[in-house]
């Protein structure tokens, strides 16, 4: 069971791409956190200053969207995982693995 | 050969009367019990009898199988031809009256029925004989190439 959970990292030395460099990762993290903060601040400011127009009372709450995003993401992450645990069956559950092989169709598929 | 002598003589004696009787039934059928179908069967029966007594090969010499399809066709054509003739003369299919239009005694009907019955007789007789020839001449095993 747990072998299905492995992260597909055959991490080899010297195969570190542009985005895997520690410096780059740090920059990305900073950028993400900064933009989160900026938009949260803008949202709060807009709500307080009154130029934001909520549809309902619910989204009149400052940073409502930020909260919604985070909460739904958490629920989705957990839910998706639960669903995967509950409903995933081995690949040959319906079809035998032989069903997945492709007979040559004569057209010379690449 | 001698064993069947009585049988054969009898058959020879009976053969002609059977044919005559067939013809009688044939031509009587126009206005009395009888007709082409019965006559054809009786006619064929004479030949069947002949084959029983003298062997199939002898009968085939008398009435070669090659002739039979022609007879069958002739019979049917005689029947259908009468019908077509009445049509060509301007009446309905098999409306014999037109064959002798001036008659007040339905002579046309007589002519027509005689022709039709003759056709039936010939066709039935030849068909019966064909069936008989096939059955009697059937080889015990059917070869593959016959299929």
């Amino acid at each position: 069971m747990s072998d299905n959970h492995h992260t597909p990292a055959s991490e080899e030395t010297g195969d570190t791409g542009f985005f895997e460099k520690p410096g780059m990762r740090k920059i990305l993290w900073v950028a993400l956190l900064a933009s989160c903060a900026i938009f949260a601040a803008l949202g709060i400011y807009g709500m307080v200053a009154g130029w934001m127009h909520p549809y309902f009372t619910l989204d009149g709450l400052p940073v409502f969207y930020a909260l919604a995003g985070a909460i739904v993401a958490a629920v989705l992450g957990a839910g998706g995982r639960l669903l995967s645990e509950a409903l995933t069956k081995p690949s040959d559950y319906y079809d035998s693995p032989a069903d997945e092989t492709r007979p040559d169709d004569g057209e010379g598929r690449p | 050969m001698m064993a069947h002598l009585i049988l054969r003589v009898t058959i020879k004696l009976l053969f002609a009367p059977i044919i005559v009787f067939a013809l009688y039934v044939q031509f009587h059928g126009e206005y009395g019990p009888g007709g082409g179908f019965q006559a054809g069967v009786i006619f064929a029966a004479a030949f069947v009898l002949h084959a029983l007594g003298f062997g199939l090969d002898e009968t085939k010499k008398v009435l070669p199988p090659k002739v039979l399809p022609w007879l069958m066709v002739t019979g049917v054509m005689l029947y259908a031809g009468t019908g077509v003739a009445t049509m060509l003369l301007g009446e309905n299919f098999l409306d014999y009256d037109i064959l002798q239009p001036d008659s007040h005694h339905h002579a046309g009907q007589h002519i027509g029925i005689i022709l039709v019955e003759l056709g039936v007789g010939v066709a039935v007789a030849s068909t019966m004989l064909t069936i008989f020839y096939y059955f009697a001449g059937r080889e015990p095993e059917i070869r593959d190439e016959d299929w």
Binding site: P103, D104, G106 | W70, N92, F93, L94, D97, W147
Partner: protein
């Protein structure tokens, strides 16, 4: 009838092949009998077209054989009469039309499947069978129906048995059919006998007059015998057992011809007896109609399910025919003009569909010697014309728009919505839809095999079927599309024919 020169028209469709058949027997084996039979079928087709036109324009036509029509002061004829209204004119045209395409098609297929020496006999039997089918349809005399029924059946047994050169099982199939067919015909003749006992007449129109208001046990028994007898010949569902093998092992051309015509003619007979002879005054009709609903629906599903799992395409198509007969019975069972019209339309359309399909399979049998599914693998690459013809006519069978199958299905659904039966119309419509899905499955299976399965590696290269077979098959395929756009013939004629059939007062005494 007032068209000069055409008085003889009603009898010609029977006389022409009848006269031509014996002549065929005398011909030299090979091309001559085939050419002759083809010519005859064409001439007959032209005659039936003229007849259809005459009936369309002038109304029902009667023809007294031998001039033995109704004497002065009597309504009923004393001899055999031929009676042609739109219903049988349509079926006549259909039978002759199918023949005029299948007969030319037959040449190569017959050369390969039947002993060369037997070809004259084959075409003779074919023409006799053709005569019989036309005669059954055209005649207005109940006993004459029996005669022609036997004419067509006996020759059919012989024709099916001729498939024995390819597969000896044809002999058993033919024998089974012989026994069953004879029982059916016997039942029919018993039924006729009972009706004759009750009424003293054999003329269909006169029978109707005499039966009006009569509803005694004898007539009811006669009705039951007739419906069972014809139901057997029709391959109505519990009585269908003879059909799959008969169609499967017959020579290809015969499968195509019979599938497109024989059962269709029986449907016509059922219609004629139920509505023209017995009519709605006959109380027992309702019971039979209700039985037909059940039998029709059971047939639609049972046979389709079986078809899905067949490994032989010919058998699959044969079972599909049984299922399609279910549709026709369903249409009849509504007992309305629309329902009967839908049934007649499906008779016509299904003939086109099945002819095309069996002809396509015949092409495959000719080239690959088998009608098993395995032979169809990769067919689109090996015999593209045949494969695509099969696919288009298969789509028509499913009832896809732009093909005639759609017209049938649509009309049937429309008719279903306008009826009151003990099954709610909506359910019937959904059942029709559901059984179309089954058709989609078995045709899909065929399409998949032909289009997407690889050609077997050890397969020898094959040529396309001969031009003659391909062209004739494609005529049928194109007819499947043509009659979608040209619905005047089918829908127009069938609707009026159904009106005439149901409005029994109207059909009687049209033109003595």
């Amino acid at each position: 009838m007032a068209i000069p020169g055409l008085e003889q028209l009603p009898v010609l469709p029977v006389v022409i092949p009848l006269v031509a058949a014996p002549l065929t027997l005398l011909m030299k084996p090979g091309r001559a009998p085939w050419a002759w039979a083809t010519l005859v079928s064409w001439v007959t087709f032209v005659v039936t077209l003229l007849l259809l036109e005459a009936v369309w324009v002038h109304g029902p036509v009667e023809y007294a054989m031998g001039g033995w029509g109704a004497p002065e002061g009597m309504s009923a004829p004393i001899g055999i009469t031929y009676y042609v209204d739109l219903a049988n004119a349509l079926v006549l045209t259909l039978v002759a039309g199918i023949a005029s395409v299948v007969f030319p098609y037959a040449y190569y297929s017959v050369e390969s499947e039947i002993d060369h020496r037997q070809t004259p006999a084959f075409y003779t039997a074919l023409l006799i069978c053709f005569t019989g089918l036309l005669g059954v349809t055209i005649t207005g005399d109940a006993f004459n129906v029996f005669v022609f029924l036997e004419i067509s059946s006996l020759s059919t047994y012989a024709l099916i048995a001729m498939g024995a050169r390819n597969d000896r099982r044809a002999l058993t199939a033919s024998f089974n059919y012989l026994v069953m067919g004879t029982i059916g015909a016997t039942f029919y003749v018993i039924g006729i006998g009972l009706l004759y006992q009750a009424t003293g007449t054999l003329n269909m129109l006169d029978l109707h007059q005499q039966l009006m208001g009569q509803s005694n046990r004898m007539v009811e028994a006669g009705f039951a015998f007739i419906i069972t007898g014809i139901g057997l010949k029709l391959a109505m569902v519990p009585l269908h057992l003879w059909l799959p093998n008969a169609y499967c092992y017959a020579p290809s051309a015969i499968s195509a011809f019979l599938a497109a015509t024989a059962t269709k003619v029986q449907v016509y007979i059922i219609l004629r007896f139920m509505f023209s002879v017995f009519g709605f005054e006959f109380a027992f009709l309702e019971v039979a109609l209700n039985a037909f609903i059940v039998l029709g629906i059971v047939g639609m599903f049972y046979a389709s399910f079986v078809a899905v799992f067949r490994d032989n395409v010919k058998q699959m198509l044969a079972y599909s025919s049984i299922a399609q007969i279910g549709y026709m019975l369903l249409g009849i069972s509504f007992g309305t003009v629309d329902g009967v019209a839908a049934s007649l339309i499906h008779v016509f359309n299904h003939a086109l569909i099945k002819a095309a399909l069996f002809m396509g399979v015949g092409c495959v049998v000719l080239r690959l010697g088998s009608s098993n599914f395995a032979a169809f693998n990769g067919l689109a690459k090996r015999m593209p014309w045949t494969a695509w013809g099969l696919i288009i006519s298969g789509l028509s069978l499913v009832g896809v728009p732009l093909t005639v199958g759609f017209i049938s299905k649509w009309k049937l659904m429309e008719a279903a919505f306008q009826t009151q039966t003990f099954i709610p119309p909506l359910l019937i419509v959904l059942l029709i839809g559901a059984s179309s899905l089954l058709a989609a499955i078995y045709i899909g299976r065929l399409a998949y095999a032909m289009l997407l399965q690889p050609v077997p590696e050890d397969a020898e290269p094959v040529k396309e079927a001969p031009h003659l077979m391909r062209i004739t098959m494609w005529i049928m395929v194109l007819a499947n599309i043509w009659f979608f756009f040209q619905t005047d013939v089918t829908v127009g004629v069938a609707t009026r024919a159904a009106q005439a059939l149901l409005d029994t007062g109207l059909g009687y005494g049209g033109a003595y």
